[in-house]
Amino acid sequence: MAEERTNGYKSGSNLEKILRAGHFAVTAELGPPQSADPEVIRHKARLLRGVVDAVNITDNQTAIVRMSSIASAVLAMQEGIEPIVQMTCRDRNRLAIQADLLGASALGVRNLLCLTGDHQSFGNHPTAKNVHDLDSIQLIRMVKEMRDEGRFQCGDEIKGVVPRFLIGAAINPFADPFEFRPYRLAKKVAAGVDFIQTQIVLDMDRFREFMKRVVDMGLHEKVYILAGIGPLKSAGAARYMRDKVPGMLVADEYVERMQAAVKGIPKEDKKARREAWRQEGIRIAIEQIQEIKEIEGVAGVHIMAIEWEEAVKPIVEGAGLLPRPEV
């Protein structure tokens, strides 16, 4: 019955149809506001509409309190955006997660991204208690069992409509231990993940090496992998990501290109420098997408232009990925 209702799709989301049809998928990210203002979501959603196939709605990203991802997703849907709701294990136990998933599915959300979550010490409530009742792999399995077996985590049957999500997860090919990373992906696949978005790729050699392992293990045939693209905003941002962000690798080449981008522009001319940096950041992102399209096993890109949603359209356009296919 369930199969018939969804035409053989797991969730029937636009993202699932794009991926199944073999199109190179494009997703982006939308960060909800640190307020109750729906206009912020609407404005960002309008910048992304028609430009990407689905949009991640972050869940208290970097452990800073923001509008709930499910509520924001509903606002985004009203603007014609297909959301990918992010769900972390940091803030909710298995009861709260399952309750929210039932609600999200009832509201029409069809894509979910299962995450461990950044540690609360990074955010604006560092004295909070964290939950981590489940880890991201256990969360993936729970969502899959709810969808495919109609069971809650405890084993009880879901009487009636089951929540239907295309199940996503993140992978960081740049974190340590590097050799464990393909295995961690394999565990997520075994747990039932349908698609993966990677951490921002700013070290192409390491990413190629990772993907080679993934292809050797045959994992690319079992899961759709979207490579993370994070357009750089300035030379300072590039250096910061290279030197300060745990689990990030940034090739010196990109830092140097960002530094060179403002050559000849006087320090005082902040506006011109900012413009030059942003143009170079977008240029690098476009080149990266073109390179990534050629890497075996990659099914699409996930563009993380955090608080810079305006950058998404020129990147997607520049990479020759517009218009998005209708499926």
């Binding site: 990074f122 991201s136 399995r141 340590d176 231990p177 050799e179 075994a190």
Partner: protein, 226 residues
Amino acid sequence: MIVGEQKPLEEIMALLGDARKVLVAGCGTCVTVCFAGGEKEVGILASALRMKSKLEGHPMEVDEVTVQRQCEWEYIDPLKPRLKDYDAVLSLACGIGVQAMNERFPDVLTLPGLNTTFLGLPMEQGVWEERCQACGDCILGLTFGICPIARCSKQLLNGPCGGSQNGVCEVDPDIPCAWQLIWERAIAFGQVERLLEIQPPKNWSKSRDGGPRKIVREDLRLTHTE
């Protein structure tokens, strides 16, 4: 062992309020070994209290005692006859000792002089690290003897999060990433495949989440309840 750290003197003074006669009670076991609440620390804190209360113009009378273990009735029972002389007891034992005193001697308030910090071990002179959270269902057998419940900042059971880099945890470069350590042990034993099995959600009901825990061993009890 249980590792603790003395509270700041200001906080202790505030806790004692207008108590004029105080007994500082140390413990000769874990907190002696971690230099937080043994006989020596009792002596130093008692002098500090005498001095500070005098300077502030309302001197306190402070006596000292250290028992071998404040968490066992037989070691604290001998204190009973002296306790009526005091307005308060300041315990330098762990939270268990403080509670044992309050439970055994309900007429006098025993206050905590330490922050009981964790179950761990001394790494070197002056350095202690956490090793166990008493989760009630030990999984060290699955993780090559390294505890991800106490030592991974997110208590992950299926491998490292994306924040592990150069062997350290994303939370603080002073914290070794537990999963990096587990991975290295798995490699050393040639048993990487054991980490590829998916560990199901943990049964937290055996941990503190199930409510305060209790162990009853009928084979050891002297009196049996029907």
